[in-house]
Amino acid sequence: MKTILAVDDSGSLRQMLSFSLKAAGYGVIEAVDGQDGLDKAKQQQVDMVLTDQNMPGMDGLSLIKALRAMKNYRNVPILMLTTESGDDMKAMGRAAGANGWLVKPFDPARLTEVVKKLIG
């Protein structure tokens, strides 16, 4: 089973992400912010990371940069899932190493379609 790390400071968002991805057959590890996400990514290799941008402490862009600096996360797909939709932020996400940008709220079918495209 492929495992996805879902990073978001909103409990309801994590719950909905987890629900949607588990229903599609993926394992989900939840993290409450960037630092928690980084710690969990180090503890267990995951197949994909879905992260929010605006979180207390370490934000999504910093998490992506930290993950891309790790050899075992250089090629792991990372998607931003955020309320932000500005082109400048998307460009920053792309430069940091994100593979895609999803604007909240997500539709579960469209989300799992993208996830399947990236990790099968």
């Binding site: 909103s10 968002l13 909905m16 955020t82 939709s85 593979n99 709220p105 539709d107 579960p108 990236l118």
Partner: protein, 186 residues
């Protein structure tokens, strides 16, 4: 000093200070109330969404168990073909509504971010009202020059408040479409 003993210049100074002090005090009181209500609104929304999420999960599990029971009946051939088709159509309807609920339950996250931004802006406005208060009911010197100097100091303090929060809190929630957001793969 009684008002009738004051020179026009002193009365003007006293009135200006009284006005600024009143605006500062009452403005701050009203903003504090708004801030308290916004924080409480955020707490209530959070609680509402937790309860809705819990109910949603419970309903979903119950529907799953019901579906398992129906699948069992169908496997045993105890469902009429017409009923089986009807249940299949209902299952599709349930899936569509579950997807809509998953999308809908995410709006609290965005609302909460907006409330947080409003609270920070209120704090900025309270700083501005605080800067209006001279803590001096009557100016030590009563000349127009002294009044102008005091007003200039107040103006500088207000300017400093604005500079401190220059740019404000960046807006991160600009959703206009109430359906799901865009997806872009790089």
């Amino acid at each position: 000093m009684a008002a009738h003993d004051m020179s026009p210049s002193e009365r003007l100074s006293a009135q200006v200070m009284h006005l600024l002090s009143g605006v500062s005090e009452h403005g701050d009181q009203h903003l504090a109330e708004v801030e308290r209500d916004l924080v409480q609104m955020d707490v209530l929304l959070d609680e509402a969404i937790k309860k809705l999420c819990a109910s949603f999960m419970a309903i979903h599990h119950a529907v799953d168990r019901q579906q398992e029971a129906l699948d069992g009946l169908r496997a045993e051939g105890r469902l009429a073909p017409g009923h089986a088709a009807r249940f299949e159509a209902l299952r599709g309807e349930i899936d569509r509504n579950v997807a809509a609920a998953v999308t809908g339950l995410q709006f609290q996250d965005m609302t909460s971010q907006l409330i947080g931004r409003m609270v920070q802006h209120l704090a900025g406005l309270r700083d501005v009202f605080g800067a209006l208060d001279t803590n001096a009911p009557v100016l030590p010197e009563s000349s127009n020059e002294a009044l102008l100097a005091t007003l200039s100091q107040i103006s500088d303090r207000v300017g400093a408040c604005c500079t401190e929060r220059a740019g404000g809190v960046r807006s991160t929630v600009n959703q206009r479409h109430m359906n799901s957001g865009d997806i872009e793969l790089f």
